[in-house]
């Protein structure tokens, strides 16, 4: 089905089911119980899962397949957001106009940056993309483009937003003045059942993002399985050898860069589709670093990894950072007082505001011990449970296994 092999079809169907059932799956604890704070089934967070999933999937097409480590991908995210908000300002609040434009504009930017950056490889490529992204950040943060044109383009540090004085030529009298798709308002919930204490929220915006995320995932699956994807992997494995065989790798890397730029633009556009704002801080290099973290944490070069990584980081960012000392005391209340205080003191730096510390440590551990990310961790556990019989008879001396690193993962 869908031009995929049987296993891939099954995989895709599972992913589709999981994505559509997210509002239920992420709400495992009943409202009012002590664990309810771990519920992640609220619209804002679920939208972020889908959007950053798309962002990470796109980044993975570049980094996971070709091995080109871009440190400036957030620039495309910002470009996408700005395009969508501009469409709000000029036409109306229908997201349908903005999103294609976001993809096209970020694709054009990716092409221009790619022409220059892809002339170099390795660290030089990273630095070039970083330089471009940082430049675009500064330009939009201080609205330099606007100074040339005379009117504000990015609205500087305030961020771009819609004002009542904007033209909005298509705006009808009955149209909602929040982002919507032909009248379906993004921030509204179409169903909010309360079943025996469990509260589920089915949000228009989330399902809109989810459908797009599934399409994006399907596209990346096709790319992974295509001869084009094969070529990209060959570039990662040994670009020099490819060049020696008389093959020009530039069009391939360029295509990968532009595709992943478009993914980032789409994600940025969706961010603005959920919340009609676009700020320059989305383009800062720390935001680019975040998508790198997501991809590697999940597993670079794997299909599911980046999505898992994105979900993981966004989940922790929202849930872990809410845990404070009171919550900790609540958890360990069953312990003797001295021990309780001791454990809370130890855990204190790692939760709440300090969750970045946890993230950093986790990231280092993954890079050091688990180069394949969470996906590899999962498959190792599976192997451990299944106890591969064949492997036992194998002589490690004569069948040495290739040790994979983050930057050169080969399997899917």
């Amino acid at each position: 089905m869908f031009g995929l092999s049987k296993t891939d079809t099954r995989f895709l169907l599972i992913v589709i089911c999981l994505t559509l059932a997210t509002p239920i799956l992420l709400q495992p604890f009943p409202e009012g119980s002590g664990l309810a704070q771990f519920n992640a089934g609220y619209p804002d967070l679920m939208q972020r899962f889908a959007i950053f999933g798309i962002f990470a999937i796109g980044f993975n097409i570049l980094f996971g397949l070709t091995g080109y480590l871009s440190f400036g991908h957030a620039a495309f995210l910002g470009v996408g957001s700005y395009s969508v908000v501009w469409m709000y300002k000029l036409l109306d609040y229908n997201v349908l106009w903005g999103l294609p434009l976001a993809i096209v504009v970020s694709g054009v930017f990716a092409l221009l940056i790619g022409i220059v950056s892809l002339r170099r490889t390795g660290i030089y490529f990273s630095i070039l993309t970083l330089a471009f992204a940082q430049m675009m950040f500064v330009i939009s943060y201080s609205d330099l483009l606007g100074r040339f044109v005379g009117t504000s383009i990015t609205n500087g540090e305030t961020g771009l937003q819609v004002y009542t004085s904007d033209p909005q030529v298509l705006l009808g009298a009955t149209e909602p003045n929040v982002p919507h798709l032909f009248g379906i308002v993004m921030r509204e919930n179409f169903w909010q059942p309360n079943i025996g204490g469990w509260e589920f929220t089915f949000n228009n915006g989330y399902y809109f993002c989810a459908v797009i995320a599934i399409l994006a995932f399907y596209l990346s699956l096709r790319i992974f399985r295509s001869p084009f994807g094969m070529m990209l992997r060959a570039i990662k494995t040994n670009q020099t050898r490819l060049n020696y065989t008389g093959l020009n790798t530039r069009p391939y890397t360029m295509a990968a860069f532009v595709i992943s730029g478009m993914y980032a633009g789409l994600a940025g556009g969706l961010l603005a589709a959920m919340d009609p704002l676009a700020g320059a801080e989305r383009m800062q290099w720390t935001a680019s670093g975040e998508v790198v973290l997501m991809t590697i944490l999940g597993g670079a070069g794997t299909l599911m990894g980046p999505v898992l990584g994105a979900g993981f980081i966004k989940y922790f960012e929202n849930i872990f950072s809410k845990i404070n000392d009171n919550v900790l005391h609540g958890w360990f209340a069953w312990m003797p007082d001295g021990l309780e205080d001791f454990i809370v003191t130890i855990l204190h730096p790692f939760v709440g505001k300090g969750w970045h510390l946890t993230l950093g440590i986790l990231f280092m551990l993954v890079v050091i011990f688990l180069p394949g990310g969470l996906v590899e961790g999962g498959s190792r556990i599976m192997h451990f449970i299944k106890r591969d019989r064949k492997a036992k008879g194998r002589d490690p001396e004569h069948h040495p296994e290739h040790i994979a690193y983050v930057a050169e993962k080969e399997e899917f």
Partner: protein, 343 residues
Amino acid sequence: MDAILLQVLNGLDKGSAYALIALGLTLIFGTLGVVNFAHGALFMIGAFCAVTLSRILSFSFEVLDETQKDFLGNPLKVKTPYVESWFGPEVGASIIDWAVPLAILFSIPIMVAFGFIMERGLIKHFYKRPHADQILVTFGLAIVLQEVIKYFYGANPIPTPAPDAFKGSFDFGLLIGFAENAIIYPYWRMIYFVFSLLVIGGVFAFLQFTTFGMVVRAGMADRETVGLLGINIDRRFTIMFGVAAAVAGLAGVMYTPINSPNYHMGMDFLVLSFVVVVVGGMGSLPGAVLAGFMLGILESFASMNQIKSIIPGIDQIIIYLIAIIILLTRPRGLMGRKGVMEE
């Protein structure tokens, strides 16, 4: 003429910081072949060494002074730093006042030890891994270090003043024969520049004129052969890592009076110093220093009002612009060697 000289001088302090950080980065890259994204964090830790020392020096005890009363009529609590009670008020006060220069001595062992631990504990395991992995793990380390500092020192910048003797500015123009008040320059920036020249000179002299430095240079050229000659090159490279960490730390210590240290100052400088290293040419020490000063000075020229009125905002993007131009016209950077980092 004096306006041009003023801009050159203004660029020197930032240029010195860039040069020092880039020098350390290049030392690590040239010896160990590791791209160290945590180098900005080392710069920051150096700065916080100065903060720590000034806090340690002003540890005080409280005495209830019966002769003085506060507005409620209770005896006033008088805080006296321990240093002042040990060495007498005048010497003690001047020791506290000189905390930043004293932190140079304080920070060197800390930074060297830190470098050793970092190299032996973490970086050592990444020599054979791809550069991307090295970037990633050191990037993770940078996040961790930054968050640890944030936890202990808070998120706000901590003002750490220079000694009173070096506060304020002096008329540099008068010294070299310009009109009065043409070039007013802060003392501390001049000191920072001279200090960085000393450090850079020291590192170069160490590499050029000592046997140890000679071996290190030989190891940079061909690590394997030096190792085959029976020299423990790994240990020397570890020491060089410590030296590089100390250089970054010293740059941070002396930078505190110019810019109050906060936990993300390292990241801010890191991006720019990487640009500096790439512009100078990966693996070239003189290139790093040259590019550091050059970019610092160009940045200050670009922030002149006359230039800003022609191209608004050029001061903020000039470094990146120059980096892009240089990387495209001279792929190895200004003084890069052939065959370094070229897959």
